[in-house]
Symmetry: C2
Subunit: 108 residues, 2 copies
């Protein structure tokens, strides 16, 4: 198994209704994770890109959160429709998508 | 919330008994994750180190698996007793612990 050039971490943290802290699961992060896996398969990038689901990544209010290493780029408010751009621009062309990143207040 | 200098990902993947693929949960990875959180608290490294639990990281046969970014160093066969060394040598002194890394066959 190769070490990936890009490793995508998708938060799938859940919290019960009424919990004071929001969670990515409340904001349909599962669809986001599925979309990453779909593109990985569709584009056959298994040797270059790895996708892993995670517990809480931190900036819960800004979720769904997606973190890409080795750069350490934190994306926020991601929905299914954003995933193709992250593949096209960042994962396959090494240009992180500025407009989808959380502000420095949350990760900087 | 600061971007961490070191981000530790601890696999907590579970699989049912009899599943053909081993899992880190069968090999007491929960204790490993708890030990990372314990040291993080004890050493008060919240501004420098982040610890996140994950689904499968890949090298299941070599688990429990622990991955550190931005370097992309994959540790295997980690137990509670190894965690202090990862803090001392790698997370706080920037020297990855060679003896605990998986071989290139599994991550290289």
């Amino acid at each position: 198994m190769p070490k990936p050039q890009k490793h995508v971490f998708v938060c799938v943290q859940n919290r019960p209704p009424g919990h004071p802290r929001p969670s990515c699961s409340q904001k349909r992060c599962i669809e986001v994770a599925e979309e990453f896996y779909w593109h990985l398969q569709e584009r056959q990038l298994f040797d270059k890109v790895q996708v892993t689901t995670t517990g809480c990544l931190g900036p819960c209010s800004e979720g769904p959160s997606v973190l890409v290493y080795p750069e350490g780029v934190m994306y926020g408010g991601i929905d299914k429709a954003d995933v193709a751009a992250i593949f096209d621009e960042h994962l396959q062309n090494d240009q992180p998508v500025e407009r989808l990143q959380v502000s420095k207040e949350f990760w900087g």
